[in-house]
């Protein structure tokens, strides 16, 4: 028993083209994950594709000769035929990147999806001739009866791929694209976890060059930003943490750090996603024990010789994923707070290059060339600008992309990451060197396009209007496009890194330094970081005895003393600063205090603060009599009401005795 074509079409409609997308461009991005999610909506327990196939077969034979024709004959238009269109798109999502045989590849995938054979004649799957018209009908239906509330379907034409382009163009990221994104995910994991705009990050990553042609075309189409963002986010959510190499094999990402001191370079390897040390075999020598980050192991520099002919990988003795230790002829390292780490491309900051690429080693690097022992043909070059590197090693820098070109650019704002991510509430300003005023158009996170004003020659254009709204923004002005993101949360890296060590003379005048630098001098004494002082101070602190009541309090000490305490007046400086009056206040010398009698006119009460017997002196007994009826509140004193009652009874007995006498 299958769910039925009608149920499938409805579920896929809600899954892929939900309402509340008015004004946005959408695609019918059906892939295996979307199909499974739609299947869940209608309670399909087994393989969703199998169920959908059976649902179509119930409408008519689904075989090599008739293909999609019987189903299309029964499902005459949108949204009923959506399940058929989704199967066509699903086939495209499974395609290989072989663009030279796109048609052939598509029909093979479609036949696999439908579980039928291919015909000898064109089209290879019957019924495909009707598919372009069905997509156009779907677009009309979304515009017409649905009044655009599910968005505007993106349709495009292709001069050669007339029949299959409609479903292919709906797939923004094919399976191979999603697999190739592994390297991008690995390098941007932290940013993606923080919710940074995945599209903005991908546009800035060299990995974008490795995607298939259709995906790269989609990246350039501004109107597909929303669907692309969702596709990349979905792919990241489904990412298994591995990378796909050039041969299509999977590998585990590794972190490579370059160490350097004059005359000596080191390569230090660790596994950021591993939980324990792994024993791995390299191209030669004994096996290497590679620990999880932040511990590291030394990689033999001699292995660079192997990297000359391609990536160097480490393999476990048995089953398990490989680890890519060296990525090839050129390794780039970027500086951060913790050292020189391998990066995927050069951005705004200069990088350090370890290379044997003749294109680079033949350069005139002069003093930037490090003097250290490396395998023949390898060079270590410091302070290399992105412009000195080939295109595939460059990140799309803020200067090139987000900050604009020579005529229009962004400046100011509270930048958090590489001047492309700004703190919400403090966006950058648009500046320009234009001869005449230009309209500023803004495309915000909701993908609504609006004109927000005019950029006047020589004057900055403030973007205060979007100050408080986090999200990804694109500004278009005078043909230039500027992209940036407003976020509420930054990386928060390096908090507490620097501290003062005032008790060590050599360090006292150094100001704040990091722990690694301090270790060299074996510091002793206090370490001050902000208000926190380690190595001194807090051990002797005992919380003072406090009350919140803004009333006179009579404190009964264990020795039978009664002290009258009054809340202090608010200090002048606190009033001046606007600090509210009230709040808990201290009972002086409260170390031996047992009872606190709060002489509040409205709510007189007794606070039990210590489990101690009290000397029944006359002042104590008088006070007990006065507060005989008051409620007793215990501050962790067991049996406090009973203890107070006992004191009150003594007081009354004493009173009777005195009266009798």
């Amino acid at each position: 028993m299958s769910a039925g074509a009608a149920a499938w079409s409805e579920a896929l409609l809600e899954q892929l083209l939900p309402a509340r997308r008015a004004g946005r461009t959408v695609v019918l991005a059906c892939d295996d994950e979307a199909l499974a999610a739609a299947g869940e909506r209608i309670g399909v327990a087994g393989d969703p594709l199998d169920d959908l196939r059976r649902s179509l077969a119930e409408l008519g034979p689904l075989d090599r000769q008739r293909g999609l024709e019987p189903a299309l004959a029964q499902l005459t238009g949108p949204p009923a035929d959506l399940c058929v269109l989704c199967l066509c798109v699903l086939a495209a999502s499974r395609m290989s990147p072989d663009e030279r045989a796109a048609t052939h590849a598509y029909y093979i995938r479609l036949a696999q999806v439908l579980d039928i054979g291919l015909r000898e004649v064109h089209p290879k799957v019957a019924g495909m001739s009707a598919i372009p018209a069905r997509f156009r009908a779907l677009a009309d239906w979304l515009r017409g009866p649905e009044q655009g509330r599910r968005g505007e379907l993106a349709l495009s034409e292709h001069s050669h791929l007339r029949l299959i382009w409609s479903p292919i163009s709906q797939v923004l990221l094919r399976r191979v694209d999603r697999e190739r994104l592994g390297r991008f995910f690995s390098l941007n994991e932290r940013s993606l976890d923080l919710g940074r705009d995945p599209l903005r990050l991908l546009l800035g990553s060299p990995v974008r060059h490795e995607l298939t042609g259709p995906a790269q075309t989609a990246l350039r189409r501004g109107e597909l930003a929303g669907p692309l963002r969702a596709s990349i986010a979905a792919a990241y959510a489904a990412w298994d943490g591995t990378l796909l190499d050039e041969r299509g094999e999977r590998a585990v990402p590794a972190a490579l750090r370059l160490g350097y001191s004059p005359g000596r370079a080191t390569l230090n390897l660790s596994l950021p996603r591993a939980e324990s040390e792994q024993i791995l075999h390299g191209p030669d020598g004994p096996p290497l024990r590679v620990p999880p980050t932040p511990r590291e192991c030394l990689l033999p520099l001699a292995w660079l010789a192997y990297a000359r002919s391609g990536p160097v990988e480490l393999r476990p003795a048995g089953e398990g994923p490989r680890v890519r230790a060296l990525s090839g002829q050129t390794l780039l390292f970027g500086a951060d707070e913790t050292g020189f780490w391998q990066v995927d491309g050069a951005g705004e900051e200069p990088v350090t290059v370890l290379t044997c690429d003749p294109q680079l080693t033949g350069g005139d690097w002069r003093s930037r060339l490090a003097r250290c022992e490396l395998p023949a043909g390898w060079q270590l070059i410091f302070d290399v600008e992105a412009t000195d590197l080939p295109e595939e090693l460059r990140r799309a820098t803020a200067t090139q992309r987000e900050l604009g070109g020579a005529d229009v650019w962004l400046c100011g704002g509270l930048a958090l990451e590489e001047r492309t991510v700004f703190l919400s509430g403090h966006p950058p300003r648009v500046h320009g060197m234009l001869a005449e005023p230009a309209v500023v158009e803004l495309l915000g996170p909701g993908e609504e396009r609006r004109q927000v004003g005019e950029l006047l020659p020589g004057e900055p254009f403030e973007l205060d209007q979007l100050a408080g709204d986090p999200g990804s923004y694109r500004i278009e002005v005078s043909g230039s496009e500027l992209c940036f993101e407003l976020v509420g949360r930054g990386m928060r890296e390096g908090v507490g890194r620097y501290a003062l060590r005032p008790e060590q003379p050599a360090l006292a005048r150094a100001g704040a330094i990091d722990d690694a630098a301090a270790e060299l001098l074996a510091p002793a004494g206090a370490r001050v970081c902000g208000a926190a002082v380690d190595g001194r101070g807090t051990a002797g602190w005992r919380p003072p005895l406090c009350v919140r009541a803004q009333a006179t309090v009579k404190a009964i000490d264990a020795d039978g003393t009664v002290r009258v305490c009054r809340p202090p007046a608010q200090p002048q400086w606190a009033r001046h600063a606007g600090i509210s009056a009230g709040g808990p206040w201290e009972i002086p010398d409260g170390g031996e205090t047992v009872w606190l009698c709060v002489a509040s006119r409205q709510h007189p009460r007794v606070l039990a603060v210590r489990e101690l017997d009290v000397e029944p002196t006359n002042p104590v007994l008088d006070l007990a009599e006065d507060f005989a009826a008051a409620p007793v509140i215990s501050r962790g004193v067991p049996g406090a009401p009973e203890r107070w009652r006992a004191l009150v009874e003594i007081a009354f007995e004493d009173e009777e005795a005195r009266t009798g006498a």
Partner: protein
């Protein structure tokens, strides 16, 4: 927005940015201050003396300090929040306070600093529950931070405050008037150097040097300078303490070194207020400074008196 309110908002935004960034370069800090229209050196000193951030001048980088709760003298039920205060910081503390069984209140959005630094944020809590609350809210608890810092202050003087080093003759310099502690660009000169304090306009800002017995010494922490020289009788005193009102007055031309100022500021969570007495004489007034802290500061600074 009137100027003090705008300044206050700018300082609060700067702390939020520092907290979200975590750490960064002096160049980034200057750009942020430029955007917020704040003076970078003043803003940074404010963050430092309030225990919000540390700067490493050797690497020209700053780092936010971890969020820390500390106690304030004479206000036992009020805890001062120092250090990291990100976008969701106060809301998160308020949420923890609301959900916690510990009796805790957050004092609104904090008290203004008259546009001189980030707001003072106080948390109302029973002192004996403060440590538990801090742990629940993911904060450090450092009671009596002012006293602890004061107890660790170095003895200002030789060798703590100076390092051998001659100034660069290519840059302009002038002696400092030992009386008023102001640079004397119009001082008569014959090409030789008198003993005393010298100010040097360097490539990366102003530097202080001490010349003693014909020898040059660099003073890495410039604020130590006035406490290393002999001053003429009758010169305005560098600091004084009003025990009755718990006020510490510091000559504005000889501001406290940052760590000393932090000890004084953490007695209240307040930046000092400047009192102008004459065109060339002003004092910074630190409030609620406990006698212990005042004594420790004075002892540390007077150690260097010749």
């Amino acid at each position: 927005m009137p100027r003090p309110e705008a300044q206050q908002a700018a300082h609060d935004a700067l702390l939020r940015w520092v907290s979200e960034l975590g750490s960064g370069s002096w160049q980034q800090f200057r750009e942020a201050c430029d955007h917020l229209q704040l003076v970078p050196s003043v803003a940074l000193r404010g963050l430092s003396v309030l225990g919000h951030a540390e700067i490493s001048w050797r690497s020209r980088r700053f780092a936010c300090a971890p969020a820390t709760l500390t106690t304030i003298p004479l206000m036992p039920g009020r805890l001062l929040l120092c250090g990291q205060r990100g976008s969701d910081g106060l809301a998160e503390i308020a949420r923890v306070a609301a959900e916690s069984e510990i009796d805790v209140d957050l004092e609104g959005e904090g008290s203004h600093q008259f546009g001189l630094g980030p707001r003072t944020v106080l948390v109302d809590a029973e002192p004996d529950q403060a440590a538990d609350f801090a742990a629940t809210a993911g904060l450090r608890f450092a009671p009596q931070a002012a006293e602890a810092i004061a107890a660790s202050l170095p003895a200002v003087g030789f060798p703590v405050s100076v390092e051998p080093g001659a100034p660069d003759e290519r840059f302009p310099r002038c002696p400092l008037d030992p009386d008023m502690l102001e640079p004397c660009w119009d001082a008569p000169g014959n090409g030789s150097y008198e003993d005393g304090l010298w100010s040097w306009e360097g490539f990366q800002g102003r530097r202080s040097f001490l010349r003693r017995d014909g020898e040059w010494f660099h003073i890495p922490i410039r604020e130590h300078g006035p406490y290393l020289i002999e001053r003429p009788p009758g010169a305005p005193e560098l600091m004084r303490y009003d025990l009755a009102n718990r006020l510490m007055y510091v000559n504005a031309h000889a501001p406290l070194p940052e760590l000393h100022a932090r000890a004084a500021c953490l007695c209240s969570g307040r930046l000092p207020l400047r009192q102008h007495y004459a065109a060339d004489h002003a004092e910074d007034q630190y409030v609620n400074v406990s006698p212990t802290v005042a004594e420790a500061i004075a002892t540390s600074l007077r150690a260097g008196e010749p």
